[in-house]
């Protein structure tokens, strides 16, 4: 019993992280039809920002330790937001309407460029932001000890999901966004200012990616190449869930998170390919993922 | 006249929405039939079912004595029912000639030949011949991306004629074409089609074209057939006048104001 419970908790912790990483990715795809590989870069930028800020924060003893969470998260979001804005205005704006796969390649190019820019700014040495990780202590669940920071990640993912759901369903801007996600031609015909919407979506998506990086920074050594490792995982999640669907990303993250946790505990050899195995299985039965956006083509 | 297409008790629903109900239609050899009805009345759904794009929920479709309901469009095309589309369905990066040659090649060798070139003198001659029938041979080497709507429509129909079908279904052949060009276009189409003696069923909104070209009219309303008979009778039918012609004219007036 406690065995299954710990798999469930591990799975959910991993899923929370996956969801926060992929929420922005799927949002951007839904609205702009850009499968953004540079999302990995935003993740890395978020992690570096958070690590730098936490380092700075804990050098000032007079500041309350708990404030580091806010500094870390908000700083990451803000920097990610700006990076997203610059990327959209500086490059993607000029390539609107190009083939989806071409856009994957463009953002792959951006990923390469960002990789070196990050190296240029932060160098290649490791950054640590470990203080916030142990700040919340740990809890025994069953016979296993879990870090409260990790458990809190489940809550954060829930909040991100709720905020996204609320803004998409209950706000005017969100409804416009949904209109674009569901029927692009019509939305354009209705006179929605696509330009502004795209800009905002991309910046928010990038901010979410950076938030994910920022939140994971305390538990890792922030190193070059962080973004590249993360992006394919996020792809697997959003493709499994159904591209462009936030609900899909949530379900996909949970599915993959649980599958990985189960594999680690029951069949460690499979860890290396279980994620892609889940994705392949889902696609084999539902060729467009779990939550499908498009309807059949009209003739 | 021998019946070639017999549709009986055909139904189609999308979830809770019924798109076609109890459709019974027979088309005979060499016939000219028009299908009328306002937008969303089920005309295109009907054509889509006959040509295999949609699978009927229930009912039978027999063509030349064979049941074809639910078959793949390519099988139905090969068995002798071809169609054109409301919006011409073409390949923007290919030339008109290549469209025709591909259609011929599809008919003859299918996908078997990997290394035999598409372009050949013989294929070209044949293609130009059909294009000539539809009056668009002059554009043979133009890519369709650059062509006017009328030419695209004609090409769309010409492709359908390559296999010399027994039954040709035209989905709004004159839509998207300027009013003053509609008759000329229809003339060309019918001129081309007549060469083959195929039966033609066409969906049309312009009643003048309907009365000029159709010998029989089938009227759709909310997924059902409300009238089916000789052109004059159907066009004079009270319900048809109220539900279909009236609506279409209103829509036309609204549309012209918008323009």
């Amino acid at each position: 019993m406690s065995f299954l419970l710990s798999i469930l908790i591990d799975g959910l912790i991993y899923a929370s992280w996956l969801f926060i990483v992929s929420a922005g990715l799927t949002l951007i795809y839904g609205v702009m039809r850009v499968l953004n590989m540079a999302h990995g870069s935003f993740y890395a930028i978020g992690a570096y920002t958070a690590a730098s800020l936490v380092g700075w924060y804990f050098n000032h003893d007079e500041l309350p330790a708990f404030g580091s969470f806010a500094v870390m998260a908000l700083g990451a979001i803000a920097v990610g937001f700006v990076a997203g804005l610059v990327t959209e205005r500086g490059v993607l704006r000029f390539l609107r309407g190009r083939d989806e796969v071409v856009m994957v390649l463009v953002t792959f190019g951006l990923l390469l460029v960002y990789e070196d820019l990050i190296k240029f700014i932060w160098g290649v040495q490791s950054y640590y932001a470990s203080q916030p990780y142990s700040l919340l202590g740990s809890t025994d669940i069953g016979e296993i000890n879990f870090v409260n920071y990790d458990l809190a990640m489940i809550g954060v993912a829930g909040v991100v999901a709720a905020v996204l759901w609320w803004s998409l369903n209950r706000t005017r801007q969100g409804k416009l966004l949904r209109a674009v996600i569901n029927d692009r031609e019509n939305a354009v015909a209705l006179g929605i200012n696509v330009n502004r919407l795209f800009m905002a979506t991309f910046a928010i998506g990038a901010g979410l990616g950076a938030l994910a990086g920022g939140l994971s920074a305390p538990a890792i050594a922030v190193n070059p190449g962080l973004g590249v490792e993360v992006i394919v995982l996020a792809f697997a999640v959003v493709v499994t869930g159904g591209l462009g669907s936030v609900e899909g990303a949530l379900i996909g993250a949970v599915l993959i998170g649980l599958a990985r946790a189960a594999a680690v505990n029951l069949w460690p050899e499979a860890e290396l390919f279980v994620i892609y195995g889940v994705m392949a299985c889902v696609l084999a039965f539902r060729p467009r993922g779990l939550f499908v956006l498009d309807s059949a083509r009209k003739i | 006249m021998k019946p070639i297409l017999e549709v009986s008790d055909l139904n189609k629903s999308f979830g809770a929405v019924t798109a076609a109900a109890d459709i019974n239609v027979t088309i005979h050899e060499n016939e000219m039939v028009a299908v009328i009805g306002s937008n969303g009345a089920g005309k295109t759904t009907f054509v889509n079912m006959v040509t295999g794009y949609l699978k009927p929920t229930s009912g039978r479709i027999q063509f030349c004595g064979k049941d074809i309901a639910g078959r793949a469009p390519r099988e139905i095309s090969r068995s002798g029912i071809c169609r054109s589309f409301q919006v011409a369905q073409l390949f923007p990066e290919m030339t008109i000639l290549e469209h025709m040659m591909l259609a011929f090649a599809a008919l003859q060798v299918g996908l078997k030949n990997y290394f035999y070139p598409l372009h050949s003198q013989a294929a070209e001659t044949r293609a130009l011949e059909v294009l000539g029938d539809f009056g668009i041979a002059g554009h043979a080497n133009a890519r369709v991306g650059a062509l006017a709507q009328g030419v695209r429509k004609l090409l769309d129909i010409a492709i359908a004629m390559v296999s010399r079908p027994q039954l040709l279904l035209l989905d709004e052949p004159t839509s998207g074409v300027a009013i003053e060009e509609k008759f000329a276009l229809m003339e060309t189409v019918m001129g081309g089609v007549r060469q083959t003696k195929a039966a033609v069923m066409f969906i049309e909104h312009d009643m003048e074209i309907v009365s000029q070209y159709a010998r029989r009219v089938i009227a759709f309303y909310e997924g059902r057939i409300i009238a089916n008979g000789p052109t004059k009778e159907v066009l004079a039918h009270a319900q048809v006048r109220e539900f279909i012609i009236g609506e279409i004219q209103e829509a036309a007036i609204v549309a012209s104001k918008h323009d």
């Binding site: 463009v106 084999a284 | 793949a72 990066e93 008919l107 996908l111 003198q121």
Partner: protein
Amino acid sequence: MRAFDKTPLAIVVATTLLLVGFFVFPAWLSLMVVTIIAKALVVVGVVVLMRSGLVSFGQGLYYCIGGYAVSLGEQVLQITDIFVLLALAMAAGLVAGSILGLLMSRYREIFFAMFSLALSMILYGILSRTQSLGSTDGLNIVQPTLFGIKLATQQAKLLIYFTTCVLAALVTYAVHRYIRSPLGYASMAVRDNEIRVEYLGLAPKKVFYSNYVIASVVAALGGAITALNYGHVQPDMAYWSQSGEFIFIALMGGTSHVAAAFLGSAVFETIRTYALELAPDAWRVILGGVLIAIICFLPKGLWSLTQFGKRSGSSDWDRVVDEKDST
């Protein structure tokens, strides 16, 4: 009135020049030529798929299969003959492609891309986990023989070089013919309008399937040549970034002609190796920048540069030919 197809002549001339080149080139250049051609062969497959609207983010799967087929052919089956090894690799690609093609031909667009990525990552995972296949360190490959004759190093290099050039010429010509066959046109047609193809009486799935299998076989051949050329195979050949590189090259070159793959591969390899040499700390910026610039300013790839001169100031007749060339 039909235009004379210049491609076969161009292939013969280019191949002859390359063959002669071996005796003139410095050793590193000859090896680079083989590298370029091996990758270009995989890219030819990517281009064939792209022409039908499918972009494979997992072509590394077959590249890797081809490479490991050579290595295992040597170690397990004790085959050393170069032609048997290459045939073995192509057969492996054919078998794998024919089986997976049944599944993959159901997928389109980004889903095809992601599914192919998943498959190649699964192979990567399996190989990385298998210590008997060298795990991530991979396997080494000894020099191939020719009809049972052992060769000196230099002779073996010559053999690999010549075989590569000649095979590439044959593949290029075959794919060039294929692209102009009805099936080749049907491939372009399914990309633009699958429904219409269906109504022409063709099965789009079969079109996708045959493209997929062709792409698998040439990718396996490319992998086999790479294996012989480097003398080493690693699971990295199936890693997603390797597949990404192939698409990168395909987009760089363009998809309008088979030869574009070779142009793209040559430019890519040159930029990368010199960027690495001249700016070891900034080669990613250079590569990424070049990619974005090409996509922005040359949407049809580098190949469109070769078309400029012809188009301007040529006669109508030429123009028709040109258009045909680039369809």
